[in-house]
Amino acid sequence: MKFSYYPGCTEHSTSLEYGLSTHAVFKTLGVDLVEINDWNCCGAAATHSLNHLLSLCLPARNIAIAQSSQAGSLVIPCAGCFNMTKRAEYALKNDEAKRKEIEEIVGFKYQSTLEILALMDVVVNRIGLEKIQEKVKRPLKGLKVACYYGCALVRHPKVTQLDDPENPQYLDRLMAALGAEPVEWSYKIDCCGADLALTYADVVKKLVGRIVSMAGEAGAQCMVTSCGLCQANLEMRQEAGLPIFYFTELMGAAFDVEGREKWWSKHVIPPKGLLKELGLG
């Protein structure tokens, strides 16, 4: 199995451990992720806030590169990059005038056959939970985890078309397949405040504080996510000390892959104590 892969800017910065763990677990699964050549930033919230056309054209350049690389469906780990690229795809597929404009600016011809998938979707639905379970060497027994999807994966559903927008299950099913216990809670899709962290830290502290305290109240010992910005906000704007994992890190722990020390060392809230306590360190 082989996919085109768009790492996004944060794979080499704020979400280092997401990238490291993704590559480690995909190696174990025997699935190739072929990084697309000379990709650019998706544009993130900044472009769609100020320049709609630019917010479509920047991801469209990456779509063009993935098309010509012919390494298979385009897989995106970061929820934010996934959302921006799906927005561009939505415009390319549903708005003919806009498609022509984007094609002219970026200099390519769009082929609607290229699939654009979130990494989580690939794990749960393309590789499949049976295959995942086969690779589990150390089940995450006793680990109570709150699965946090945030915004960008599931909304707007007409654009992302991933899971149930109000009560998504992909992560919960994956965690159960790894032997962990996903808790039932009602804040799995509530917004963390995103980039207001840099301008209105107090607002983000309130939003994150509520999400983390609800996870704790539901009995979770940690949370798991797939978004670099959510992970950073949840880790740095809470006071409860609840570890925040990327889902690929917990896959790596269950698969018992090498190099996990380095991932744990990148966390602002060290998760090692919790893992040790459960004999998972």
Binding site: T14, N40, C41, A46, L50, L58, I105, H156, A194
Partner: protein, 182 residues
Amino acid sequence: MTDTGTIDSSFLEDAKKRSGEDLDLCYQCLKCTAGCPTAPYMDIRPNNIIRMIQMGMKEEVLGSSAIWLCVSCETCGTRCPNKIDIGVLMDALREMAVEEGVKAKEKNIHLLHEAFIQSIRRGGRIHEATMLMDYKLRSKDFFTDLVPGMKLFLKGKIPLFPDFIKGKEEIKRIFEKCTKEK
């Protein structure tokens, strides 16, 4: 709500055209505002933004903090019974405000977006260190949030050197065309 602005009769049509959303369909059920994570901090709530657009209150809407405090989480658009994508509307309103030279009520949010976009323009990818420095210089807000920034830096998560792409000229061309053709 203030009552000082003049009524702009074309504002509703402009906002509908720019956003592609049918704002006439809103029947004020307030579902957008009820689910909005930042509504408690807005000067005008999302449902009132729509009502005020219908009433032509352009100055108030484009000059509001609300259009900048929206983080595009899309909870509103997902739940709207009339399928109005309010997140997309907010994007359109911000774009209109900037184009018309309306001073952003949330200056720093606007400046952060600008700093981010300029970072992409320079090298095709984000370089956090120079982007944040650029934002600090623009906003003159030097001391907020130094601790979280330092924590990430010490974890090796804010690289010193940028990772520029080879296709910088392509990016430059995309930027030029997207800015000119508006």
